[in-house]
Subunit: 246 residues, 6 copies
Amino acid sequence: MTRADGRQAHDLREIKIERGFTIHAEGSVLVSFGNTKVLCNASFTPGVPRFKKDSGEGWVTAEYSMLPRATHDRSEREAVKGKIGGRTHEISRLIGRSLRAVIDVKQLGENTIVLDCDVLQADGGTRTAAITGAFVALADAVAWAKKNGYIAKSAKPLIDTVSAVSVGIIDGVAMTDLAYVEDVRADTDMNVVVTGRGLFVEVQGTAEAEPFDRDELNRLLELALQANLELSKMQREALGEDLDLR
Amino acid sequence: MTRADGRQAHDLREIKIERGFTIHAEGSVLVSFGNTKVLCNASFTPGVPRFKKDSGEGWVTAEYSMLPRATHDRSEREAVKGKIGGRTHEISRLIGRSLRAVIDVKQLGENTIVLDCDVLQADGGTRTAAITGAFVALADAVAWAKKNGYIAKSAKPLIDTVSAVSVGIIDGVAMTDLAYVEDVRADTDMNVVVTGRGLFVEVQGTAEAEPFDRDELNRLLELALQANLELSKMQREALGEDLDLR
Amino acid sequence: MTRADGRQAHDLREIKIERGFTIHAEGSVLVSFGNTKVLCNASFTPGVPRFKKDSGEGWVTAEYSMLPRATHDRSEREAVKGKIGGRTHEISRLIGRSLRAVIDVKQLGENTIVLDCDVLQADGGTRTAAITGAFVALADAVAWAKKNGYIAKSAKPLIDTVSAVSVGIIDGVAMTDLAYVEDVRADTDMNVVVTGRGLFVEVQGTAEAEPFDRDELNRLLELALQANLELSKMQREALGEDLDLR
Amino acid sequence: MTRADGRQAHDLREIKIERGFTIHAEGSVLVSFGNTKVLCNASFTPGVPRFKKDSGEGWVTAEYSMLPRATHDRSEREAVKGKIGGRTHEISRLIGRSLRAVIDVKQLGENTIVLDCDVLQADGGTRTAAITGAFVALADAVAWAKKNGYIAKSAKPLIDTVSAVSVGIIDGVAMTDLAYVEDVRADTDMNVVVTGRGLFVEVQGTAEAEPFDRDELNRLLELALQANLELSKMQREALGEDLDLR
Amino acid sequence: MTRADGRQAHDLREIKIERGFTIHAEGSVLVSFGNTKVLCNASFTPGVPRFKKDSGEGWVTAEYSMLPRATHDRSEREAVKGKIGGRTHEISRLIGRSLRAVIDVKQLGENTIVLDCDVLQADGGTRTAAITGAFVALADAVAWAKKNGYIAKSAKPLIDTVSAVSVGIIDGVAMTDLAYVEDVRADTDMNVVVTGRGLFVEVQGTAEAEPFDRDELNRLLELALQANLELSKMQREALGEDLDLR
Amino acid sequence: MTRADGRQAHDLREIKIERGFTIHAEGSVLVSFGNTKVLCNASFTPGVPRFKKDSGEGWVTAEYSMLPRATHDRSEREAVKGKIGGRTHEISRLIGRSLRAVIDVKQLGENTIVLDCDVLQADGGTRTAAITGAFVALADAVAWAKKNGYIAKSAKPLIDTVSAVSVGIIDGVAMTDLAYVEDVRADTDMNVVVTGRGLFVEVQGTAEAEPFDRDELNRLLELALQANLELSKMQREALGEDLDLR
């Protein structure tokens, strides 16, 4: 069985990782998972928020947002509504946790890196693209900080790569990296965040239509591990020698 | 190895499900998982929100909140801050999704049930206690609606029971239903929502300290399934003949 | 003339004062005036807000709120609306002023006690129950602070007890402690806050339907003084030896 | 004993009621209680808010605010803070209730009158000046509505006049209409809203420093009734033939 | 051609500048451009906002607002809406920039002057009246600060006067100081802020109906310069010897 | 005299107009003025806001925003702050007015077009780039609406092109299209919005450091007219046959 866009069940969409997309940010990556395009900007600033003061540790956090017309229909700006919605909060927190899983905050020193993940165009899987792109921007910001003397040359804050993919079951078939039209049809939808070494950072599975059993869960995890290995490879290729893992 | 409170790794804390805790709500349950106490009130109202109008389907949603002094230190009220935090949003959405997984909205007709889950006292696992208690309040509200003629006597909106438990790995040992002191020490923390028939509704695993591997994930899922079977049994006992599953 | 619930005009409803209702707060009281149930948690913290810094004086304040389904119909959460309503503000301020009338802030030292009064179930008189219960929680928090060395053993911050009751005129008859069904029928509604020594702290009378004359006012004040003496007695009984008045 | 400004204990400050202060509002009154100056604009609009639809009754409500520099020190605008404070809410509600006590909403028909009371200059007693001035603006708006055919010529929505005064106890002496320097020194502070016939609409007494006894309360009420009779007389003089009471 | 109110095209409305309108502010001016009346209060406070700390320079800023019934129809309060509208923001910023153009912040020292411009009655040209009145209030506040020793007697923070006027094209004729009925008919509307020496501070021209050409622009600028010279003269007369320009 | 980037005083930076930048919007343009890059998405929806209902006329409006790291230092998201700043409001309104000056809303019919202008990268002149790009996106949305039958084939809603440029005086020299480093040094800064026929839509000049005289104003207007003619030519080239002016 092939999919609408000709992919096999286990295929990722075309993945592009474009570094240096904007000029001001210490790390700036435009990541594409097919038609899903997310701009991930990493901002490095010396110093940490109050709850981390004098801890000797740094802080990494993330903010996710969609441009109003990233989607098929225009959605109102959260700034205009005056409050951030639950989905936005949830995804921002997920991205932050995922990146913190591969950062050694002691090695980072008392510095802060904020990852802004703004979806320019959405076609399913925006949070997984954001995590995957944000890691590359984070690596660039760490490299920038070393080069500019904010972090010791010998420090190695990055423990591993981290990436994410969505997997789901459609008509009984487990599939990788769902596009929007697939996502709305899926019975089960799972976002899986995995390190370059193949360890789980987050597993978030949701029964959209029907609860799922242990076997289905296993097939989804299998696909997710495999796809994340590919994503990790692409991240390494994109960063080349600029990636300095512990 | 036993735990601080004398439990075995696979033991739930003492679970209490007290129906009819307040007088106004159509379903009102005080659920306790040890020292964690959550008041779950179900409010039934005829009619549905605009996005469900004329769909012939009902709507079930949930709002979670903590009293300011439910926790060891007082936290500021979200109403005073003027906005709802990301954690609150995330949990409210999780409870709503979990309940909708076992409700046939067509059988519910164009009626709305809102579950208010207010944590009176917190000691870890507030979201899993909330889901477990909210299901019982939901069942009471459905029964009330049948008795009062809002839903046909023959309708069976409830597909199955649903409950939730947290599981985690502490010092390499997988454990069930973490109390707060355990939660803060856990390397991995997973909330698992399961139906009475043993199917997964939500699997949310997070690596707090160290990423986890497939084997650890399997052990956690095993514990979670076993504990949820026990919780489902307690829900059935608490509801007795008032539970009318499809 | 007897009332719907069999009471005489000057009778209070059944009053219950349950100390130690939750485990974390320094004072935690569930107070019941009939079906009205308010959870009053007192949080003690060393230090004072900025406007009291270096004054040598402490601070006592209160926040009142209703759970969404404390009432017959569900009301929207103020946190969801993003702002606190006028009624909530008004009652929070009233509770704070009432308690400050019996606290010697110099004896309290530069410490803060916040009283959270959350209505679990409402049936009229929630603000008067809140004041009455909050005083007991406050006394417990003061005792806790002495025991734990935050306040000198010899200090006596509590000047007197304080309690409150609603009184009103229904069909020309002055009545004590109105239940909700009585409250909506009352021509005049008055909340009276009184110290254990029988002095007024607050008198808030409102003509709901018809303006009232001096004579009616006098009869209401009479009932209120009498009821508050009873409430003060119950507070003393509930606290027993733990009450340490100046 | 005379006061700082030469008044006797029972004297009001100089009261001025200037009608037609601005040109757009249906009723526009600048009221002065000494240096306290409040602009009271009444806006008449056909139609009522949703909760009054098809009731055959009208609605009267009020909004109180202070200009940032009405006071000795500048206070931040509530619009800039993004939320209305408790004190503002409390006073707005008080003004609205006071006016509704002398309006027959059936005679008003399904029309709304909003009273905007903006304090241009504050020197104590802003809420009592606001009520006193707002009544005159209300009467002008009712007269306007009759003249312009929105209310039947024969209708008599105004039942009575209503005015308000603050009274307080300073160094044991009960005094009328406290200026700011007196207000901060008062042990007890009471705002009393009274109709032209001498009936109470609101009695709000607060022990600022020391709780007060029945005798003090009586003396304050005496002063308040006497002062309100004077204020009612001034309102009648200001309105002359334009006042059309039932 | 004469206008509805009998003015010639180049005539200002009747301008009044009333100093000392309220008692608390360091500068308090009620300015009238015909029926447009704006209360401009200047608040002087030692110290500067954080972004000016240790700069040796002072800060001047402004906040503009309309009373709800300043206009023909009542508009909702921005404090009630919980946010400030775009028009309010825009005008507040314009007033601030205009005043800062004639203040030497070094001479002001590390002090702040806030100008509150509250429109009591609107009939077109509220922002230009506000700028014109605010300058006079600013001059009074500077004089107050010198007299009270907050600024050295020898300092001369005021560089020049500043005033503003609206000009517009109606039916092909360029006109000065548009009243509201003229404003809504104008094809082009321009607000021009000019110093006493006849230099431009702000030129804001907007094509309301039809884009305008270079010639029309020139005629409007001509009228605006002429009117501002008159306004500057009135400001000097109003301030008399209290104006101390560099 | 040449500039830092080698331009002559009257030169625009390199201008790029890239249509079809995203796939969902009816018009989607990435416009670049040198390093300033703004994504302008036009969203067409049938129907109009309430204040335009049954007017037979359409509505065009705009929202401007900056990504947090569009600038050299990261700025906090307005959605996180919960309110939109004055600058954002001001620019959104300017873009909306500029576009409405060249749209015949009657020809548009009761349809709405919203222009979202999100700055991806800022280097001075973001508002002028936004207006210039938004016009092209607007033209694309109008063409889309004709093609899809929402507007009659014969209708010609577009009256003319519209573009904008910033001009300023630096060290006495008038210059076109200021980059950020120039903008901060400019004594006078002017944004000028001009139609394809060379008529003014908006003229907004601000004295940043020194007030300016009539001669300087004239030189700035000259440069602005010339630059806008070039921009209009580029807009026409970018749109080619898809531009259908009246």
